[in-house]
């Protein structure tokens, strides 16, 4: 299948190790992180928005989204 770049918006709780959880998930499952930025959400400081670009085929992209959704501190994952 064709490898494509895609961008995810991930809203997370600002809990201990949350970035580690996300990057750990990527390394554990063999996914790529091409770039990543994190910003505290101005409207609610308990949360952050991660914008991440990654690459993979369609199946990988779907898996990445589902695996992210399973993390307890991840509140929302959107493909943008």
């Amino acid at each position: 299948m064709e490898i494509r770049k895609f961008t995810l918006s991930i809203i997370v709780m600002n809990k201990f190790g949350v970035l580690h959880r996300i990057s750990g998930l990527f390394s554990k499952r063999g996914y790529n992180i091409d770039s990543l930025t994190v910003n505290v959400m101005p409207e609610d400081e308990r949360m952050s928005r991660i914008i991440m670009t990654s690459s993979g085929d369609d199946a990988t992209r779907e898996q990445i989204i589902k695996q992210l959704e399973k993390l307890h501190d991840v509140k929302e994952v959107k493909l943008i």
């Binding site: 190790g17 580690h20 199946a59 307890h72 501190d73």
Partner: protein, 566 residues
């Protein structure tokens, strides 16, 4: 600050972190825990002492054994298993146990002490970042950094461990948090997290697919057991008249007496389950993840077959295998709805095919010495001394596969085996957890290699008077690895011929247990008479042929075309 907060909430009692932990465990129905003390959990152990009428602590010989025991307890009872360990080496000793629980979706709550918060990050004595280490092998984990969050974290850990697809959760509690005080709000168990509603149209689509099928095949896994849906599975299978192949994790969900039962699928699965899986036009995977060991070459697997995948974990859909359609949610809820919607069927021809393959399966894969002390005979004989509720644990290797193949399971939660991680050394701890949780005699089928990894826990079984019958399938080799060396490495038996001179009877006696050696079926019977009348553990060293193989075998990433039957 602490004083202020306790004043603000003066309707609540103020307690130390360690007391909050133990009270909260008790309020979650935990009356038995496993563990091993040390400096960073002294306060927790002090509370265990104070609460000793309400919660019983089983000390093991090694934290790994305690983790496996908590896991075995959870698998046998369906309730979370709790394990406590100190910081540093105590915590790292849990790692294999936590990973084992994670791969088999077992609800284990691991509690570790850590150095006090000001010492964290300083490479302090017995400091280790156990939360970092266990992140990839837990469903979630915590470091408690604020005493006021402790109670909520513990309650949430229980929710996470048991909601949806179960799994282990670790809570790392620094020593100063155990000592500090906070208001205790009662530590009551909270309801499990709700699942998203089941998509009705996905059930309709599944029903349509099933109604179109002429050769349906059910592939049932551990999810059936987690969801307590064994009866629902049978009702469903009866209505669509389908045979059931099981993953190793799902074996105990289908009683051996059922005509529909094909036994295990996959690498060492039965001939019938492999053949029918390959020939069916619709594989209905329920609570399974289509792991490589269970499916072999997936491209072959799917050639003419549609896959309907039913699971509680949406990330399992299309992870290992692309499904034709899927239903996501709790199997216990899905199956009755699906059963109602599908047509009542009878497939005479398909049934005859199944019966024929079962017959062939019995004929092929004969062992070397089937009249003597052969694994099959050992397992079948032991079964006669057990009852339907007896919990059976295994270690990992040939003996594990033989147990999966030949032991006649009747009830869910009676088979404790490390499926996903394949952990040698799991068995002793698991059998202990099974005996504690089931409050009765458990059986361990182990190998000489595996037993050497965790035989120390025999002392635990003696200490707590736990009736564990240990059957060592003693081939004096790392049999499973040797089997691969024979088949795929030109019989280069590199480091698998142990020929250890260990005297297992003396080992048993040395630990304060009893045991004997069996070289014939007659000796085995005599030994079993004694074993099943003994108050504590009993070890039976069964001498078997080192060249006995586990058959049939589909080589790694192979298909039914490559099956080895003799």
């Amino acid at each position: 600050m602490l004083d202020a907060s306790s004043k603000n909430q003066n309707q609540h009692e103020t307690m130390s972190g360690a007391a909050i932990l133990i009270e909260t465990l008790i309020n979650h129905g935990v009356d038995e825990v496993f563990g091993f003390p040390g400096g960073a959990v002294l306060n927790i152990y002090d509370e265990l002492y104070k609460h000793r009428g309400k919660i019983r602590h089983y000390i093991t010989c090694h934290e790994q054994g305690a983790a496996h025991a908590a896991d075995g307890y959870a698998r046998a009872t369906g309730r979370p298993g709790v394990v406590i360990a100190t910081s540093g080496p105590g915590a790292t000793n849990l790692v294999t146990g936590i990973a084992t629980a994670y791969l088999d979706s077992s609800p284990v709550i691991a509690i570790t002490g850590n150095v006090a918060l000001p010492l964290i990050g300083k490479d302090s004595f017995q400091e280790v970042d156990i939360a970092g280490i266990t992140m990839p092998i837990t469903k979630h984990n915590y470091i408690v950094k604020d005493i006021n969050e402790l109670e909520d974290i513990i309650c949430e850990a229980f929710q996470i461990a048991q909601s949806g697809r179960p799994g282990p959760v670790l809570i790392d509690i620094p020593k100063d948090i155990q000592i500090q005080k906070a208001a205790f709000k009662g530590g009551k168990a909270r309801p499990l997290f709700p699942l998203p509603p089941i998509n009705q149209s996905s059930i309709e689509e599944a029903a349509k697919l099933i109604n179109e099928s002429k050769k349906p095949y059910i592939y049932a896994g551990g999810g059936i057991i987690s969801s307590r849906a064994a009866a629902e599975l049978m009702a469903f299978a009866d209505k669509i008249d389908a045979p059931i192949g099981s993953s190793m994790m799902g074996l105990s969900a289908v009683p051996y007496t059922s005509e529909r039962r094909l036994g295990m699928t996959g690498m060492h699965g039965t001939y019938a389950s492999s053949m029918l899986g390959a020939e069916s036009d619709l594989i209905i995977g329920i609570g399974v993840r289509f792991s490589d060991r269970a499916t072999g070459d997936k491209s072959k697997y799917q050639e003419n077959t549609k896959i309907l995948h039913i699971d509680i974990d949406h990330s399992e859909i299309d992870k290992n295998i692309k499904s034709y359609t899927s239903v996501i949610g709790d199997i216990k809820e899905i199956l009755p709805r699906l059963t109602e919607m599908v047509d009542q069927r009878t497939f005479k021809k398909w049934k005859d095919v199944a019966a024929e393959y079962k017959k062939i399966g019995k004929e092929c894969s004969r062992g070397l010495n089937e009249d003597g002390l052969h694994p099959k005979n050992i397992i079948k004989t032991v079964r006669q001394y057990a009852n339907d509720d007896t919990v059976v644990a295994t270690d990992v290797g040939q003996h594990q596969m033989w147990t999966a193949q030949y032991y006649e399971f009747t009830k869910p939660r009676t088979f404790l085996t490390s499926g996903g991680l394949g952990t040698m050394g799991f068995g002793m701890g698991a059998a202990i957890g099974g005996a504690v949780g089931g409050k009765k005699r458990s059986i361990l089928f182990t190998g000489d290699g595996s037993f050497h990894m965790n035989m120390n826990e025999l002392a635990t079984a003696v200490m707590h008077r736990l009736p564990v019958v240990v059957i060592i399938m003693d081939n004096r080799v790392l049999g499973m690895v040797r089997q691969w060396q024979k088949l795929f490495y030109e019989e280069h038996y590199s480091n698998t011929t142990m020929d250890r001179v260990t005297d297992y009877v003396k080992v048993a006696e040395g630990f304060g247990a009893a045991g004997c050696k069996a070289e014939t079926m007659q000796e085995l019977e005599t030994a079993l008479e004694k074993a099943f009348a003994t108050d504590g553990p009993y070890v039976i060293d069964c001498i078997i042929d080192k060249d006995e193989r586990v058959l049939p075998m589909i080589p790694p990433n192979g298909s039914i075309d490559n099956i080895i039957t003799n």
